[in-house]
Subunit: 187 residues, 2 copies
Amino acid sequence: MLLPEGVAIDGATGTVTPSTGRYEKRLSDLRGFFHDDAALDRAIATDGDRVAYEVIDYRHEDSDLSFGTTIMMPGTVGGEYIITRGHFHLRKECGEAYYTQSGEGLLLLESRDGEVKTVEMKPGVCAFIPPEWAHRSINTGKDKLVFVWFCATDAGHDYGIIKDRGMRKLVVERNGKPTLVDNPNHA
Amino acid sequence: MLLPEGVAIDGATGTVTPSTGRYEKRLSDLRGFFHDDAALDRAIATDGDRVAYEVIDYRHEDSDLSFGTTIMMPGTVGGEYIITRGHFHLRKECGEAYYTQSGEGLLLLESRDGEVKTVEMKPGVCAFIPPEWAHRSINTGKDKLVFVWFCATDAGHDYGIIKDRGMRKLVVERNGKPTLVDNPNHA
């Protein structure tokens, strides 16, 4: 039987104690997600294949609800701010909540029929992600962006659609400010 | 179709903006949950039938995941700290997460077969409540206790078992400190 437990979450660093798993994505892991492959190659050649974001989870298969943190590094690639891959949930009834702890960003969402929405990510804002909206987090700030996510344990991730077609919009730095523009690669 | 939304949560006051519902429980609503009815009568006679706690939710029937805040006032009744009613979920596979934002408290949990656990509630700690553990929050501090909860929308609440039998343990103030003692009324 699962036991109750206090899980310490550091809102500045994103550490989760205790945690059950973690992974990180480096710039090269995001090839095909950024809009400009040549700029990605140059970024890796210049700065090295640095970590773009890290995900730490607290997850038990015997509980319906899981949570964890995502820690996103600042920076741009070809003018595009650092992004997560973005996904739909495999189980169509599953939403999610992203509760920002530190930093600033944009949550970019796209429905199955191509409607686009953004939600500002900043401390104290819990972004509600309804079922059937693909979602990608974007660090538009100068510091780490740290948020806590809460999601059904069996929601599942479909990264393929976003990888294959791209999202309709990008968030790029224009005059130092995050700006939503059309994705030239959207299929 | 549900739309994404940024929900502002004030960790000091517990306000949720926008919210979809709210309720409050006053001392008299907790008759039968505190261990000492006579002390409850005296507290109401002395201080009035004050609010013990308030719950504000952000909930959509078309999303599997809901969240909200619980705002608990400080104080004691017959030496027992202010409590929530405590509940099992109706759907046995449903757990919950309580992420404390301000104040200090104890989460008191009891399994179906009578095992008792506590989890410290303090800012930065997200309490994991596994399925099939009844849970009651207790404000053991001098200020408000505010936490954000995340739960399946259809988890359901069974308050009856706790009301009828009581929990096995109480948290009372002894020498100014929260102390776990046997509940003399436990059936």
